[in-house]
Symmetry: C2
Subunit: 255 residues, 2 copies
């Protein structure tokens, strides 16, 4: 690519989260960066959009970097929509989302604000990558991810991504050096929720959602296997949700 | 099925919306019904879940029907999770979501609270169907959908649904009699947004998200084609988002 690429950066943890600040710093070394990110944390927002409330979208300056930044009152998907329509004078060459504080492997992809921003960019025809580190703590260490993020990003800029596909990249939480980068499928798994029941000072019952992820998939070609074995996982994710393999079966129904 | 099936009913328009009241009435004719639905409209919530706020889940009585009902302060996906853990003593035989006031065809499926509830049920191993009527008005007419809803529901109870698949059923807005029911793929399309900029009384800028859906797909096997031609569309939807066809291409990258 002869001229510097235009890169849109977003996330779901909010514009001041350490993960996005690291990603902005890395993208500044590759291209011209525009940031459009939520003004507050939006974890677990899935592909929510704001249809029944107003939105704000304001230019802000957060550090001394060369990037242009906007903070948005909406969801990650709103951020991408607003950036495309209000902040960018041409379609960006790439959208990167993250680095998320926590895993978006396996079924987590469907709850993920980080990945919904990437998918929204994909729907807009923009090559897109979501980056997540399997460490939920706010002081997670993002310092050792540079090489892999730059390598994956440069590959996307040079090779493009097949139409209708975005990349879901997860980094394992490990003290070891990464063993490599693996292209994976999404592991079968689900969350076994528990609801922690409490009582308000006025005697009203309320709950906190909690739970643990359970991997039901023994496959060695899955993102869960890769992450457990110190590999960085990349799952190509599509937003044509049609289960083509089920069409023939359904056509045999007496409807 | 010898005994009456246990059916979980939910939606994203809120527990008092005409669409869910109609669906409850129909399901009461087939099985034992438990309702768990949002206490306020949750349209466009995608697959959001509530991770950083408390939730309420309260038994309510809304009409004289035999069903048991709970209203939940969370998203459609939260409703399904809470129903499964707090309200049901066994896994239901079916989850139906809707009837949504508005289309969930084509790319709308990724923004849809109605479909996220169905997908959440699918992840829990419950056969699930989302029903939507392509009419956004709150006084939309749901009276002519009975035959098709009952037929599709009975087929699911008798035949099951392939593992990892849920059904996305859309009804056209038409004055004509439906021509039939078609198994379809998700049409390629996107929303071209416009942001309506306004100013608050104190001079602060804000926006309303608006826009129009654009169908980029001429295929006669799509949900958009079926709906435009007065057919009811059924798209089998999967939540394994892996783009398997892209894995080989990505494996050729120099990572």
């Amino acid at each position: 690519m002869s001229k510097r690429p235009l890169i849109l950066v977003t996330n779901d943890d909010g514009i001041t989260a350490p993960g996005i600040r690291k990603l902005i710093q890395l993208m500044n070394s590759i291209g011209d960066v525009v940031v459009a990110a939520p003004d507050s944390p939006q974890s677990g927002m899935g592909h929510a959009i704001t249809v029944d409330a107003t939105l704000t979208f304001n230019k802000v300056k957060i550090d001394d970097g060369p990037q242009t930044e906007y903070q948005c009152s909406g969801t990650p998907a709103d951020c991408v929509k607003m950036a495309v329509r209000l902040a960018l004078d041409r379609k960006p060459d790439l959208c990167v989302s993250g680095i998320n504080h926590g895993s978006n492997s396996s079924v987590n992809v469907i709850y993920s604000g980080t990945m919904s921003a990437a998918v929204e960019a994909g729907v807009e025809g923009i090559p897109a990558i979501g980056f997540s580190l399997c460490d939920y703590s706010l002081d997670a260490n993002f310092e050792h991810l540079d090489e892999e993020i730059l390598s994956i990003t440069k590959n996307v800029l040079e090779n493009g991504i097949p139409e209708g596909v975005v990349l879901n990249v997860n980094f394992p939480k490990t003290e070891n050096k990464f063993k490599g980068i693996k292209i994976c499928r999404q592991a079968k798994g689900n969350w076994e929720e528990t609801f922690d029941k409490r009582e308000s000072p006025t005697g009203k019952e309320y709950y906190w959602l909690s739970g643990k992820f359970v991997n039901h998939d023994k496959g060695e070609d899955t993102d869960e296997w890769a992450l457990e074995n110190d590999y960085v996982s990349i799952v190509p994710v599509q937003y044509d949700l049609t289960a083509y393999h089920a069409i023939q079966n359904l056509n045999s129904w007496d409807l």
